[in-house]
Amino acid sequence: MQLKRKKIAGLLSVATCSLLCTPVQADKGEWDIDAAVLYYAEDDGRVEAIEPVISARKDLGDEESLSMKLVIDSLTGSSPNGAVPSTQVQTFIKPSGDGTYEVAPNETPLDPSFKDTRVAYSMNWEKPYDRNNRRNYGFNISKEYDFTSISANALWQHDTNQKNTTYSYGFNFEFDNIEPVGDVPDPLTSMYDQEKGDSSDTRNVIDLLFGVTQVIDRTSLFQVNLTLSEADGYMTDPYKIVSLVDGVSGEPVDQLYENRPDSRSRQGLYGKYRKTLGNDDIFTASYRYMTDDWGIDSNTFDFTYRFKFGNGYYLQPRLRLYDQTAADFYTYFLVDGDPLPSDVSADYRLGEMEATTVGIKFGREVDRQHSWSVRLEQYEQTGESSPSEAVGQLRNQDLYPDVTATIVQLSYAFIF
């Protein structure tokens, strides 16, 4: 009798698990809909973006699913063109080559013609191969008026060790076509000569991913990914320039179009740890190390802590810390008379910098069918604004202005 009771208890626990161990997602035939909108705004009239997104995932049964996602991204504002400030009014040619814009003395030169709309669509199909293997195929296309990107990826996941260990093997191929406004500028030529070449150029990117996800115990797990990426083709930003300055006064004497290497090889190591604490709160920590043959090494730490309250409410503070070294070919400016390097860029995103994101997210899992959240974050990026190589008037200028951005995200998910 006792043995029979034990057997029944065992069967019940297995049955309970079969209910509990599957993530709360749509059942067969149901649609899982997620919608969100992101608002991103930088201070000082720089970039502003509004990005609505909607995704739909249909459960096809037997753990097979099909999902689609549509993103519309609308950007406006001003973006640094790479030139240094001057004590004089500076005049720059618009990217189209048609007309000019002026920058006031001692101001960071910003290109005010930055305006873009991006539409991106992606599809994903996930299907089990057998009890311990799953395959996932994805396709993405995104289009801006001067940029088209198409990519396809495949991911194979293998469970082992009673599904406590999952190995992931992924491959992604991306093809990009760049059609700059005003055609592709000849590298290292004067912006004022408007020497342009082809109307478009291309690049290919191949990514490989090898990952392990490991359950540690009943409340925690970790993930480690190794990623390799090889990019070949046009990597230059056709709208960015580098100032050629007088070696004594530091005043710009010309503005040259930048040039970047036509290949880039990157390696990354990513680790993530997640744990539920006794009171149901969730702690997540991640770290990413990236290195590439442009000389850029970066570290990213990301921490969140989800405080859970009654009725499905939660509050989640976040801290993200980032730092990177400069690309080998990054410079603040070039000195007139010095030999020109073959690769050079003054794009602040390739410079040495640190960045901090502090934020909070508030949301509610209303029930199995509905959930919503609001995310508010502040991003701050700082670099060396007074480098030792500054000459003349550049010693008094801010050569790496801080970037401060506000991020607001509203999300809503439901099942029908």
Partner: protein, 73 residues
Amino acid sequence: MTIRYQWLLLASVLAVSGCSSLGVKPWERDILARDDMLMDADAFDLAFDEHIYFSKEASSGGQGFAGGGCGCN
């Protein structure tokens, strides 16, 4: 092989070894199976972050394939 590549290799070897003693029994997965314990929970947050930081910093990716690249300024 440079030091940085050796470091990556060592870390990845450590990641795939020594895992067999970890884990839970199938009926102990109640907490791990919750939506907010999935490694890709909050997928939109991850996708938005990937887009923002791709446009502002020189490194990107790591967790998966972002897809739908952009020529962000």
